[in-house]
Each structure stands twice: as structure tokens, then as C-alpha cells.
């Protein structure tokens, strides 16, 4: 019975309640394919725990007459919670998968435990979803230890103490506006029109700039020096969105409005991160205004500390990768700006990023995948433009490497003449790429078909990507080859649902990126391209595919959750490696995880298998 101690909810139950369970338990054996529970048996009378083996949930699919596996229950897991609590028959046929032993207790003993043991009751009533909560809670509490705060980034803005905002009309002189701020001890004043719509914002920072740069006397109407059209969110938006907006625009204040766009209040970055030592907005601003490369280099360690802080504040893995991407974008932009200032090539260009950065899915371990898209000015040839841009790109690549973006081993960098192209050249390049589907091209698909503009005008890229998508949508053969390629990335589970270890790397390790995340990324990409989805981010692609009806929305949610959980486990591993001063790697030994995380990981991989099965069926692979 000791094995129960390793599993929820038994791990947190009292000894007396566990003894009650043990005294009333009976042990049954089910051979492979034996039925354990079926809907025909009437209301469920027993509560089961898998002692050894697996239970498969089967549901008959009316559409194609086939049987779908809806879930899998492995060692230490309990069933059937919903049916037992609801005192109804199960809706799913429970069948043994392999030799399986189950402990079970009768309804009476179950009810006694339910009424006497709080952890047991919580577990049963919240069902399987509480497993996921537990994982998230642990990710947070680990990072929390170094911070000591419980603010959640999911908190809607309306719950933050919105001060009654200090407002004025645009004709008020700056001197009086500042006096009003001073009286109320705030750092900003919002300028509104007669309908209370915010038309501008004036902050102490604006005042400083105004004085320093001698923009005008203090009698100037505030309307002339305010920041016009201030960014705003509705009160339903959450703290995370607010933080992201602030980080992107380097503002410290944000207007909060109601549905009719009337001002309700102002949120400052200090409201959001009152207890945080490193804060996102300030960091983004410091990066974005750094005047030397060495400042940028030194700021990278702050990014890592920020990730810790974010996890502690309850950001989920999707949010955190976005933060990292945002900060990386700011860094890339600043490196480009500094170089343009020093040595302007004089040609307008768009800086492209590919691969994980293109998908906005970067973690702390990242390398450069970038390129340049330029418009050739009249009177110049493409080659002449390249001659000017390449030395510039080379410097940028080298400096990004100093900032921690490892140089790309495959030379997928803007300084590569093959990736510094005009719009027309890129178009030709993609035509060849799609028509001649060589094995090498298919490998590149994971890089070049996930792209995004980080710097410079975006329309040239939108035009280009529109054409690429249209071509792929028409080319069924290319889609099929992409699909076949995506199937090469198998989730790391054996036929018997054990972990399949990485062929390279240390013994008994799994590569969370290549084996865990890649099956999702690759498979979702095929569906996204085939359905004309323009987003590059895997989670957003799944949302769009569900909205377009290409994915069942329940499936899409399960896949998104599975993908996020693998990502979360990977990021926590990275954070731990940093703490130990080890180089970052994507390999983990599943034996190092606690049983709960192992189960989550296994279930997530199984979702990847389901997603791949959909691809197989769609393209008849």
C-alpha cells in the first residue's frame, strides 16, 4: 500500500484515512482488454485506483463507427470520479490495457472518506483538472521562494486599486497640471475631452524631458506637450496584458476605460509589480534605450531573473515565452538601432526572424535565425544593395551573439547572402522551396515557414507571406510532404506507453524540445499552412484552426494544454539549471520528476500522438 503515498490525493491524506482506505480495499486483476467498468452496469458503486498497469477509456464514435480512446489512467490514478460522485453510470467504457491490478473500495467506504478527509474530497470533487493545477502551483511556488509575493498576473485590472484618476482638460497650463499631480501625489495626469474619453496623458517623465529639452514655457497648454492617444485597456483585461503593453511601448502608465471608452482609472507599473525587484517595463525600457552594446550584454542576466519573477507571479508558460520573446525583440531592435546610428547602410529593410523566435516561442536557450528583406531603390541592383547590407548584418549578428543569442550553426543569419534578399528574390526563393521539395527543404520548413518581422516596415513581409500561403494552399503535394516530414518527430512514448529515450544525449533522458514540443509545432504548422492561418505562434495557430473549424475545439484545448505543460516543465528545468550554474539543455531524465509530473508528461505526449494521428488520417500517410 505504500505506493499510494506517492500519488495524489493519498500523498496528502492523514494516516487514519489511509488506513481506512486500506482496510476496506480489495484488489482485482484485469487481463489485457478485460472490461473494468461499462455504461451498462448502472450507477457506479466502487472507487478504483490503478495499482499496476493501465486503464483505457473508450467511446464509440457515431460518425465513423470506430472506437476512440478518450483517456488513459495509469498507476496511482483514480477513477471514475465524475460518475461516482454523480451516482450515475459511467459514460465511458473502461478497459484494461495490459495486465492491470486495481484497488477499489465500495461506495460506503468512499462516502466515509469523502466526508472525513479534506484532501480526498477536494481531489474527487475537482477531478482531473486539479492535477494540472497542482503542476502549475508547484511551478509558481518554486519561483515564489525567491520573491515572496502572491500577486497573480491573471487578476483583472478592475481588481487593482484604481485610484480615482487625476484628469484635466487640454487647455490647462502645464504648471497647473503639475501642481494638481503634486497635490494628489501621483506621477501622471490624464487629459480628457467632455465625454471623459482620454485624449492624452502627461507624466513626470514628460515634464523632465520638457524642461531638459526646453520645449516651451510652463504656461504651455498641457494639450500641446501631452502624449496623444494614450494606450488603454478595458477593466476586463488582466494584469498580464497590461504589463505586456507597457513593456512593448515602454510606458509606465496605462489608462483603463469602460466599454464606452470612458476613463475609469490609471494603472501604473508600480501597481502591477509593487513587490518585484526586477520589473518588466523598466527592463524593457532600459534595454530599449541602452546606448552601448556592453549595457545590453549586462542586461541579459536581468532577463533571467525576470523570468523567475514572472513564474512567481503566476504567469503561465505561454505568457513567459512571450515575455522572453518581447525582451529579445527589444534587444534585437536596439542592436539594430545602435548600428544604424553608427553606420547607416541607407537602405530601408525589414529584419526577419525565423523558427522559434518567429513563432514567439523562445526560452532562455536560443540561437539566432534571421534574415533581411529589402526593397531595392531605383537605380540600384539587388547585388549592389546586398553589398551595403551584408557588412552591416555581419556586425549585427556578431553583436547579438555577444548579447547571448548564439550564432546559428546552420548559418541561417542575415549576414548570409542567400538570406539577405529583395522582395522579388524572396518570392522566387519560396517558389523554388515549395516546388522542389527536397529533403533539405523540408528540414528548413520548420525555420522559414515560421517567420515574423522584428524591425522595419511590415507590409513587404505581409505581401510576401500572403503569396507563400496561397501557393502552399494550392499545392497538395507539398502539404503531404510537409505532413510526412512532421511525422518524423515522434512523441517519446513506446508502444507500451513508457518513455522512449532520446537516441543522442545522456542515458535515460528525453529531449523536451525535439521529442516533446516539436511534434506539436511541426504538426500544427502543416494544418496552419494548409488552412491559410497567418499566425506563426503554435498556440495562436491552434486557436485559429479551432475558429476555422479545422480542429475540434475540445481537441484544440487539450493539445494547447499538453503543449503548454511540456513547455512549463522545460522552462522549470532551465531555471533549475541556471540556479546550479549548469549550461542550459533540453534533456531531462523523467525519473528526476515527481510521479505527478511524470504522469502529466506522459499524458501530454499521448496528446501529441493523437494530434499526429489526425495528420495521418488527413493526409493518408
Amino acid at each position: 500500500m505504500m505506493f499510494l503515498r506517492e500519488h495524489a490525493p493519498f500523498s496528502s491524506m492523514d494516516d487514519t484515512h489511509l488506513a481506512h482506505f486500506a482496510e476496506h480495499a480489495s484488489l482485482r486483476f484485469y487481463a489485457d482488454n478485460d472490461i473494468v467498468l461499462s455504461p451498462e452496469e448502472g450507477p457506479v458503486r466502487r472507487f478504483y485506483v490503478v495499482k499496476q498497469g493501465r486503464i483505457r477509456g473508450e467511446r464509440h464514435n457515431e460518425k465513423d463507427g470506430k472506437t476512440d480512446t478518450t483517456f488513459e489512467i495509469t498507476q496511482g490514478e483514480c477513477f471514475p470520479l465524475a460518475a461516482l460522485v454523480g451516482e450515475r453510470p459511467t459514460r465511458t467504457l473502461h478497459r484494461a490495457a495490459g495486465d492491470t491490478f486495481c484497488l477499489s473500495i465500495e461506495h460506503d467506504a468512499f462516502v466515509t472518506l469523502l466526508s472525513e478527509s479534506d484532501p480526498f474530497r477536494d481531489f474527487c470533487l475537482r477531478g482531473v483538472s486539479s492535477l494540472l493545477d497542482q503542476v502549475n502551483q508547484r511551478i509558481q511556488s518554486g519561483a515564489m521562494a525567491s520573491i515572496g509575493s502572491s500577486n497573480s498576473l491573471d487578476t483583472p485590472l478592475e481588481r487593482y486599486a484604481l485610484r480615482n484618476p487625476i484628469v484635466c482638460s487640454p487647455d490647462l497650463p502645464v504648471r497647473k497640471a503639475v501642481a494638481r499631480m503634486h497635490e494628489n501625489n501621483v506621477g501622471s495626469i490624464v487629459i480628457t475631452d467632455d465625454k471623459r474619453h482620454p485624449t492624452g496623458i502627461f507624466t513626470l517623465r514628460d515634464l523632465r524631458t520638457m524642461v531638459a529639452e526646453e520645449k516651451g514655457p510652463l504656461d504651455t497648454p498641457v494639450g500641446q506637450v501631452m502624449t496623444k492617444n494614450p494606450i488603454y485597456l478595458t477593466s476586463h483585461a488582466d494584469a498580464f496584458e497590461a504589463a505586456m503593453l507597457m513593456a512593448e511601448h515602454h510606458f509606465a502608465h496605462l489608462c483603463v476605460v469602460d466599454e464606452e471608452h470612458r476613463l475609469i482609472g490609471v494603472v501604473s507599473e508600480r501597481d502591477l509589480f509593487s513587490l518585484q525587484r526586477v520589473d518588466l517595463v523598466n527592463l524593457a525600457r532600459t534595454i530599449g534605450t541602452a546606448s552601448h552594446l556592453r549595457t545590453l550584454v549586462s542586461l541579459r542576466s536581468d532577463v533571467s531573473r525576470l523570468v523567475d519573477a514572472m513564474l512567481a507571479h503566476g504567469a503561465d508558460s505561454g505568457q513567459v515565452v512571450k515575455i522572453i520573446t518581447t525582451l529579445n525583440d527589444v534587444t534585437v531592435r536596439r542592436v539594430l538601432e545602435l548600428n544604424i546610428k553608427k553606420n547607416d547602410p541607407g537602405i530601408p529593410f525589414t529584419w526577419l526572424t525565423f523558427g522559434s523566435e518567429g513563432r514567439q516561442e523562445q526560452t532562455l536557450l536560443t540561437d539566432q535565425d534571421n534574415g533581411i528583406l529589402f526593397e531595392t531603390p531605383d537605380g540600384m541592383t539587388d547585388d549592389q544593395v546586398r553589398e551595403r547590407l551584408l557588412p552591416f548584418a555581419e556586425t549585427v549578428n556578431r553583436e547579438l551573439a555577444e548579447c547571448g543569442f548564439t550564432l546559428c550553426k546552420g548559418n541561417i543569419m542575415a549576414s548570409n547572402p542567400k538570406l539577405c534578399l529583395s522582395g522579388r528574390e524572396w518570392d522566387d526563393w519560396f517558389i523554388r522551396f515549395i516546388d522542389a521539395s527536397t529533403p533539405q527543404n523540408l528540414v528548413y520548413s520548420s525555420i522559414f515557414l515560421d517567420m515574423r518581422a522584428v524591425f522595419g516596415p511590415t507590409e513587404p513581409l505581409e505581401n510576401l507571406y500572403g503569396k507563400v500561403l496561397a501557393r502552399i494552399q494550392k499545392n497538395a503535394l507539398f502539404q503531404k510532404m510537409l505532413a510526412g516530414n512532421a511525422m518524423n518527430r515522434r512523441p517519446p512514448l513506446t508502444m507500451f506507453r513508457n518513455f522512449r529515450y532520446a537516441p543522442d544525449g545522456k542515458k535515460h533522458t528525453i529531449d523536451l524540445k525535439r521529442q516533446g514540443l516539436a511534434p506539436f509545432v511541426e504538426t500544427v504548422r502543416v494544418f496552419a499552412l494548409a488552412n491559410g492561418v497567418e499566425e506563426a505562434n503554435t498556440l495562436e495557430r491552434m486557436d485559429r484552426l479551432a475558429a476555422k473549424g479545422a480542429f475540434d475545439s475540445k481537441d484544440a484545448n487539450a493539445w494547447k494544454e499538453a503543449y503548454s505543460l511540456i513547455q512549463a516543465i522545460r522552462m522549470r528545468a532551465h531555471q533549475e539549471m541556471l540556479d546550479r550554474g549548469e549550461p542550459l539543455s533540453n534533456y531531462i531524465n523523467p525519473d528526476d520528476l515527481n510521479p505527478l509530473d511524470r504522469r502529466i508528461l506522459r499524458e501530454s505526449f499521448r496528446q501529441a500522438q493523437r494530434l499526429q494521428q489526425k495528420l495521418e488520417v488527413t493526409y493518408q500517410l
Binding site: 500500500m1 505504500m2 505506493f3 494516516d15 489511509l18 488506513a19 486500506a22 482496510e23 476496506h24 480495499a25 480489495s26 484488489l27 482485482r28 486483476f29 484485469y30 487481463a31 478485460d34 495499482k51 499496476q52 495486465d99 491490478f101 484497488l103
Partner: protein, 235 residues
Amino acid sequence: MLEQIRMWMKQRRAGALGSHDFAHLPTAKVAGDQKLSESRLIVLDLETTGLHHGKDQVIAIGAVAITGMVIHMEDQFDLILRRPELDISETVLIHGIGPEALTQGHETEDALLHLLEWMDGDPILAFHSAFDQRFLEKTLRHSLGYSQNHTWMDVAELLPAIFPDARTGGRSLDNWVDFFNLEVSERHHAAADALATAELTLVALNKAQKQGVTTMAELNTKLRYYRRLQNMHRF
């Protein structure tokens, strides 16, 4: 937790001490037409001071009951006999029972009477049952003068009879435990070994029913048939 169950069982037993009815000890049942799906079977494991039934003694008895193909966890028997006069240094290493634990054991007669009542004459299964049978019968005869013969079945025969193609790499309990990937909490602890043997028995009975073996008598026939085949192979 096991400790708690043990305490609880001890207390329950304590209340029953001294109230045994010598004249009405349960009679042994024969393997007849009882359905496997309804019968109660005893799965038993003994720990002894050594392998010679002539000079060695029983130290501990662990037993599990299977009723209607289900192991009810509260229907177990786990006790250490008091034999302070024995020199047990030889086998202590295998079993992990030291002299201290032994002296805490029950008075032998009481424990054995209790065992007989708990077994209720039901058929007894054990791994390499000949060993356990010889020891238990000798102990019952010497301590209580009890000489009824229970129906015994050997799980070490039952398993290969039901799974003739299993490649276990050997005939020991460990081989079968590994073959079916069972987890045994404490090997060479009578109760844990009895439970492992009982789990193997569940696996075998499940398969036997699918092969059309539904009664105790049919199961016995199957075992006899297996023994005959084994003997033929020897020639």
C-alpha cells in the same frame, strides 16, 4: 500504515484468544464443483528457520484470502510465532526477522488455532506448496494434534500450467513476479510474499476462466494433467 493494520489485527485477535472450540475446528473442504468465481482460497507463505522440515521450525505465517477472484485487503493473516528457544541465526539474513521480533510473537497454540479458524478449511495455495504443506502439517500435528488434510495447490505448478508459453527465465517466485511486472513491497516477508503469490494466482485464475476452467475440480484436473506432462518429459 501496514504497522497500523497489524496492530489493529492484533487487537482483534486478542479479543478472540482462549475462546477456541477444539471440538468444532473447521473441516477441510475438497476441491469439488465449487465455482472459482465464488470460492474462497487461502494463499499462504511460511518463513522457517531453515529448509529441513525434520529439524527446522516455522517462524512466521503470512496468508491472504481470495474470495470470488478478489483479494480483500482486510481478510489477511500475518503473524510471527514465538519461538524463543530456537537458534535462528542461519535464516535471519533471508527473512529479516531477528530474535527480538520473534519473542513478540503469539503463543504458538493460540496462533495456530486462530489460523485454522480463519482458513475455515478452504483450499490452500502456496508457491512450491510441498514445502509449506510439510511444515504447516507438522506444526499443526505437534502443537495441536490436528491432522486433517487440507486441499493444497501449488502456484508454482498452476502458473506454467495456465501460461505454458511464458518465458520467465526460471521457476522461482521472483521469476514470475518479474514476468508480470509485479511490485512486491518487502520480499521474504511472509505477508508480502503471500500477497505477491495471491496476485499471481489472480492472474492465473483470470486466464484459466478464459480457457474454460470454472470449478475447483477442473482446476485440479488441469494441474494433474500438467504434472503428468512434466513426468512424461522426464523420460
